[in-house]
């Protein structure tokens, strides 16, 4: 199938470009992690000798080979999930740290995206159908305002009012402190309770993309002849709105999945940080505050690759939904 082949090639090339970008970025930047680390040591009163510099370089894995050898080693390490050691969690490998955090983020981001998609799309259908009426204005203005909330800020407020003041939800973490993650119902219930506030924060702040996308599609679809024809046929309003207009307006919204996912993933970085949720975002938060470059780089890679995979899957699904795409 040419469509799938084209998407597949694009996916591989994009993946390669993202991986290479992750290799180039730190090398393009002025200054270097080892200088930053030495600077921190120096300001702490440690005399910087050659031996000290060498030790830091070895610790940071600063290579003394040429750039092509470095690139080859970098690719080899990625395939083997060898990301070295971070300063924040020195006792385990970066791959291990990330592996523990990944499922939490996948569940949080996945559930939030599906929730925001369903609620946002329904609100968009509603606003588009009642366009120009008070209901439309309320939904649009509300969604605009909520979308303008910095996600971490909304998280802080929810944390304060619903967890700290009222005690309805736990204050931090992804599960009760001291518990070991397992599949028992009590643990799952506890994990769910911990995920409500971060998920709510992310869903509310990313809802608007779906609302506006769907509202605009609805308005465009409602102008089509077949909708006018359906109305002229005397079909019930609800039938026209949902089965004629919304059904066709939904299709372009699916392609927005990839971009919306980016917003949720981006928002999750700071929101997880605020809630100390044990996912990738919280790790990135920790890595940034500790200037932990090895962890940062590996996280950026994992986040980017996960997103590329998700977008690729959506592209494949889209081909199932819209036969025109496959033939084009």
């Amino acid at each position: 199938m040419p469509y799938l082949l084209r998407k597949g090639v694009l996916f591989v090339v994009t993946l390669w470009a993202a991986i290479t970008l992750n290799f180039i970025l730190p090398r393009l930047m002025p200054g270097s992690p080892e200088d930053a680390a030495l600077g921190k040591l120096a300001s702490a009163g440690v005399p910087i000798t050659n031996a000290e510099r060498h030790a830091v370089e070895i610790q940071l894995g600063v290579p003394h080979t040429n750039v092509f050898t470095q690139y080859w080693d970098y690719l080899k390490n990625i395939v083997q999930f060898k990301f070295g050691h971070s300063y924040s969690f020195p006792s385990e490998t970066v791959a291990h740290t990330i592996g523990k955090a990944l499922p939490w983020t996948l569940v949080l981001v996945g559930a939030t995206t599906v929730f925001a998609f369903v609620v946002g799309t329904l609100l968009g259908v509603f606003a588009g159908w009642r366009r120009g009426k008070a209901a439309d204005t309320t939904v649009t203005l509300g969604a605009t305002f909520f979308a303008a909330f910095p996600p971490f800020w909304l998280g802080l407020l929810l944390l304060y009012f619903l967890a700290y003041k009222n005690g309805w939800f736990p204050i931090k973490g992804g599960y009760a402190e001291g518990a070991t993650p397992n599949w028992s119902p009590s643990f799952l219930a506890d994990a769910f309770k911990h995920s409500v506030l971060p998920a709510l924060t992310l869903a509310v702040t990313t809802l608007s993309g779906w609302v506006f996308g769907m509202r605009n599609n609805m308005i465009n679809t409602l102008g089509e002849d077949y909708v006018t024809f359906a109305e002229a046929n005397g079909l019930r309003t609800r039938t026209v709105a949902l089965l004629y207009a919304a059904r066709n307006a939904l299709l372009p919204n699916v392609t927005a999945f990839g971009l919306s996912l980016g917003a949720v993933v981006g928002g999750s970085v700071l929101v997880e940080g605020v809630f100390s949720y044990p996912g990738l975002g919280n790790l990135l938060y920790i890595a940034v505050t500790n200037h932990d470059f090895p962890l940062m780089q590996a996280l950026f890679l994992v986040i980017t690759v996960s997103m590329l995979v998700a977008i690729f899957v959506v592209d494949l699904l889209y081909a199932r939904l819209d036969p025109r795409v496959r033939r084009a």
Partner: protein, 311 residues
């Protein structure tokens, strides 16, 4: 708002012969901006946005007159709750939070506008070139655009800001512009692709116009609403991104902005000490500024898509 119309200068009778006829004495761009603002104003959502943005801009411009105290002076008792003198309380360093909020409008507005302009310039340049030059150039530029689109923006911004050691608001402007031009570029490219084959462009090509003139004087004016839309989206993204980066402590430590107020409040556990206004106020201000940009964008969308216009 004053409406600028082209009134021909009064001529002495008989002088017409040696006076070259000028079609209009009003500078074109000014007339254009006037018309655009008038059309935006007719959209009720955009009107709310313009008023909101205007109020924030006035606060930013007249900050020294509005703020009762210096935003940086550490002259007050630390950790004060709101009092008659310090309306929003004081920080852990004894600074007046209300004055910081007033001055913070300057930084947020500046970062939003500067990053918005920079991102739009990049988007227009890349979008126009890619759209007007099909083939290898288009393929390469489109690939770079799509790559930038699918790489998650906030993590990339965080990584960039963490690597760049210098801390100033211009670092943030650059980082934000670097990560938020792609959406605009893609839209502008597809519009340029359709305009390229129109008759007026073909006739400009055959009349021997230079490439620069064709692209910027013939094609660009036909996508003003797209350019404006990408500016306002980039500006919204910039305001949010600035707050996020500063909240992570990646901002400039000696600027007073809404983001740094949030950062300081979080560092001092303002929520746990009951100083929730230190969190509420700056976040709400950021939300209002971002809302104003988005609302104006509704009007811009309606300019380009008649179906979205209010009846």
């Amino acid at each position: 708002m004053t409406i600028i119309t082209a009134v021909p200068p009064p001529e002495a009778p008989g002088a017409l012969a040696d006076v070259p006829i000028r079609p209009s004495r009003v500078p074109g761009p000014l007339l254009f901006v006037g018309r655009a603002v008038r059309t935006l104003w007719s959209n009720s959502k955009a009107r709310i946005g313009i008023v909101l943005l205007g109020v924030i801009a006035l606060i930013a411009i007249f900050a020294p007159l509005i703020a009762p105290h210096s935003p940086t002076a550490t002259t007050f008792t630390p950790y004060l709750n709101p009092t008659g003198q310090n309306w929003f309380g004081t920080t852990g360093n004894g600074q007046d939070v209300f004055s910081q909020m007033v001055y913070g409008a300057r930084v947020s507005l500046l970062v939003g506008l500067a990053a918005g302009i920079l991102a739009t310039v990049v988007a227009v340049t890349i979008g126009l070139i890619a759209g007007y030059r099909p083939g290898v150039i288009d393929e390469v530029l489109s690939f770079v655009t799509n790559l930038t689109l699918v790489i998650p923006g906030i993590p990339l911004m965080i990584i960039l800001a963490a690597y760049i050691q210098s801390r100033s608001i211009w670092t943030i402007v650059l980082v934000v512009a670097f990560t938020s031009w792609a959406t605009g570029a893609r839209v502008i490219r597809s519009q340029a692709t359709t305009l390229r084959t129109r008759e007026f462009v073909t006739s400009a090509v055959f009349s021997g116009e230079r490439l620069f003139r064709i692209v910027f004087r013939e094609i660009l004016p036909n996508m003003t609403s797209l350019v404006a839309a990408s500016f306002f989206s980039a500006a919204t993204a910039a305001v949010m991104a600035e707050a996020s980066l500063e909240f992570l402590g990646l901002g400039s430590p000696d600027t007073v902005s809404w983001g740094t107020i949030l950062y300081a409040a979080q560092q001092q556990n303002a929520l746990l000490t009951g100083q929730w206004l230190l969190i509420l106020a700056p976040g709400l201000a950021i939300a209002l500024l971002a809302t104003s940009f988005t609302l104006i964008n509704f009007g811009v969308d309606a300019l380009s898509n008649p179906r979205l216009r209010e009846k």
